[in-house]
Symmetry: C2
Subunit: 393 residues, 2 copies
Amino acid sequence: MNSGTLPSEAFPAGAPTTSAVVGMIGGGQLARMTHQAAIGLGIELVVLTADGNDPAIRAGARHHPGHPDDIEALIGLAERCDVVTLDHELVPNAHLRALVAAGYAVRPGPEALRLAQDKAFARRALGDAGFAVPAFAEVARGDVAAVDRFAKRCGWPLVLKSSTGGYDGRGVEVIRDQTALQSSALARSADPWLIEEHVPIAHELAVLVARRPSGWWAAYPVIETTQHDGICRELVMPADVPPEVSDRVTALAISIANGLDTTGVLAVEFFVATDGRVLVNELATRPHNSGHATIEATVTSQFENHLRAVLDWPLGDTRLCSPAAAMVNLIGGDEPIDPGRLAVALQEPAVHAHLYGKTFSRGRKLGHLTALASNSADALALARSAARSLVVR
Amino acid sequence: MNSGTLPSEAFPAGAPTTSAVVGMIGGGQLARMTHQAAIGLGIELVVLTADGNDPAIRAGARHHPGHPDDIEALIGLAERCDVVTLDHELVPNAHLRALVAAGYAVRPGPEALRLAQDKAFARRALGDAGFAVPAFAEVARGDVAAVDRFAKRCGWPLVLKSSTGGYDGRGVEVIRDQTALQSSALARSADPWLIEEHVPIAHELAVLVARRPSGWWAAYPVIETTQHDGICRELVMPADVPPEVSDRVTALAISIANGLDTTGVLAVEFFVATDGRVLVNELATRPHNSGHATIEATVTSQFENHLRAVLDWPLGDTRLCSPAAAMVNLIGGDEPIDPGRLAVALQEPAVHAHLYGKTFSRGRKLGHLTALASNSADALALARSAARSLVVR
C-alpha cells in the first residue's frame, strides 16, 4: 500500500541507534503518547514547553524549555530536530512561517495548521473547496444586528464560536434567543466571532487520516464520539452507522487531507444531522482525542502514524485488530479521580488504562480508558464501568 | 478471570496522577519496553543502572544511578519505590534477601530469582518437583573424570554450561568428544559447571506466565523460538506444534510458576526432543526476548503484565489479537545496521519496529522487528525481509 525510500547514511559504529529526532511544540498528553510510540521507533522526541511537569516530560521525552510564542525557542528546537510538529495549535502561525522560510521542516505546515487555528478560515476554505459545512457567518464584536440577520435566515438557536483559541468547548456558546444574545460573550469580548446554525445532530463522527508530504495517506475506521459541553467524553470504533455514511465521511476526510495538503494526522469531525445532511464540523491537524482508541484497537496507533507521516516514512496498517472498541475520558469532576484505584479499574482484562500524570483540576482531561469487545455496546459498558471505579465517592 | 481490590487512598488535589512507583534493577531493552508500558499505566519507572546511556534511560525512565552490586544503591532505589523488580539477573541474591529482610517488596523474590541466576539450582529444583529436564550433572573445575563418567552414561556430544552469569549463549559450549573437553572452558575457569546431555531438538518452545503474589496468573500462547549460538534469533507465535504439545507445555509452565511461587513474568523454555520428550530447559523470572511479539500480537504485552503482576494488580488479557506473529532480532553482525533505513523496513504496513537506542557492536541485540500476518510462515517472511533491509551492504 505504501512505497518510497529515504536516503540513508552509513551507520557509524559507536553511535546510538536513533532513527530520527522529532520536535514537538507542546508537552501535553498527545506529546506523552507520541513519546511512547517514538520509543519503539528509536525516535528521539524533543518537546518544547515551559513546564517541566508537563505529561510528556514526566514520561521522559527530551525537554526543550521555552514558550511556543518565543521564536528563538522555536528555532532552537528546530535546530535539534529533523522535523518539527505540534501537540496543540497555540503557536503563532507567523512563527511557523518564519521557520519554514528559514528552511526548517514544519509538519503540518503553517497553511494546514491555520485550518485548526482559525475556525472562520477553515469554514471558508472548506466551503470554497465544495465541502458541506454548517451555515455560518463571521461577525465583529457587538454586531448584534448581523447576528439577528443570520438568525432570521437560519432560525434560533444558533452557535457562537470564538474564531481562534477555543478548544474543548471553551469559546463555544449556544444562543437560544435575542435576550441571550445580549448577555453573550459577543457583547463582551473583542474576539473575531463565528456564528453558525445549531445543527440537530444524529451522530458526531470523526475520521483520522495520516498523510505524508509525498502524498501517501492512510485512513482509520470511522469513530463516533459523544461530546458534552464541547468536550469529548466517549467514543466507539467503528461507528455504528450505515456503510454508506461511513464510506462518505471517509471519502470526504481523504479529499480534505489531499485538497488542503495536510501532513501528519488530520482529524475531521463531522455532524450527521437528523435531516441526513453530512457536514464537516472542525479540523485538527495533529493526533486527536477521537483517535485514542487506535492505541489498542488498530494495528498502528495514530501517534505512531503521526510520527511516520511527518517523517515521510511509510505508514502503518490502520485496520482494526479488535471487532470493536470504546474509550471513556477521565475528566476531573466534582468527585476526584484516584489513580490508586487503577487496579480496580483493570479487573476487566479487556480494559486498558492511560493516565497522563497530570495534577487534578475540574474539567481537566486526566487520562482515558479503552475497552475492546466483540461489539461497541459491550465495549462502552466495560469502559464506563471501569471509569466509574476510579472515582472517589 | 481476575479479581481482588487494592487499598486506595483519597487522591489529593494538586498531586500528579501517578498510580505507582516501580523500581527496576538494570536499564537495558527490557527496562526500556517496560517504561513504554509504564507510561500508559501512570506508573513511574525508576531504573537502577550505572550507565546513563542505557536504553531505558535514553527512553526517559527515571535514573537511579548505581551498581546492582552496591547494597546502598539498592536500598536507595527500594526507598523510592512501591516494589523493586529486575531487568537482568546480575545482582547478588544476598542483597535481594537483605532488601526483603528490611521490609521492601522485591518481585520476583530472591528464591525465585535464584532459578534464573543458578542453572544447577534450577535443574535440581525442577527435577525435585518432578519436572522432566535434560540429564545433567554438576562438576567442579577440571574434573574431567566426572564429565567422562557422564558421557559414558549419556553419550557424546554433551553441553557444558557455566552455572551462573551466562546469558545469550555466553558460558555455553557444545563438547563433541574427549579431545574437545581438554581444551574447553571447564579446564580454564573456576566457575561451577553444569554438564548436560545434548538434546536433539525438534522444537524450542517458550511459555510466559505472568503471576501475582496473590496467586492469580495468566499464560500467553506458546511461542516457538529459533536460537543460534545460544542467542534467540527469531520466533513465531503461536508455535506451530500439535495442540497436545501446546497444552502440555502451557500446563507445565503454569505448574512451575505456581510450584516455585514466581511473581512477575516467568519465561519457561522447553526442548521438544526428536524422540518426543518434552524437557524444561531454562527459566527467566522477568520479561523475556521470547515474548517481544506480545507487544503487538496479544491484547496485553508481557511488559505491561509484568508491571501489573509485580504490583499485584489484575492481569490483562493474554490472548492473541492477530492470527499469527513473528519476530526477528536485530543483532550486530559483520554488516552494520543503519537505523536511517528504518523507513525502508516499515514499507510493509504489518511490520512493527523496536530500536533500543544502543550503540552498535557485534553480537549485541540492537532492536527487533515484529510482523503480523494470517499465518506464521507469512509473518516470518515479512519480518525477515524487513530486517534484511536495515543491513548496510
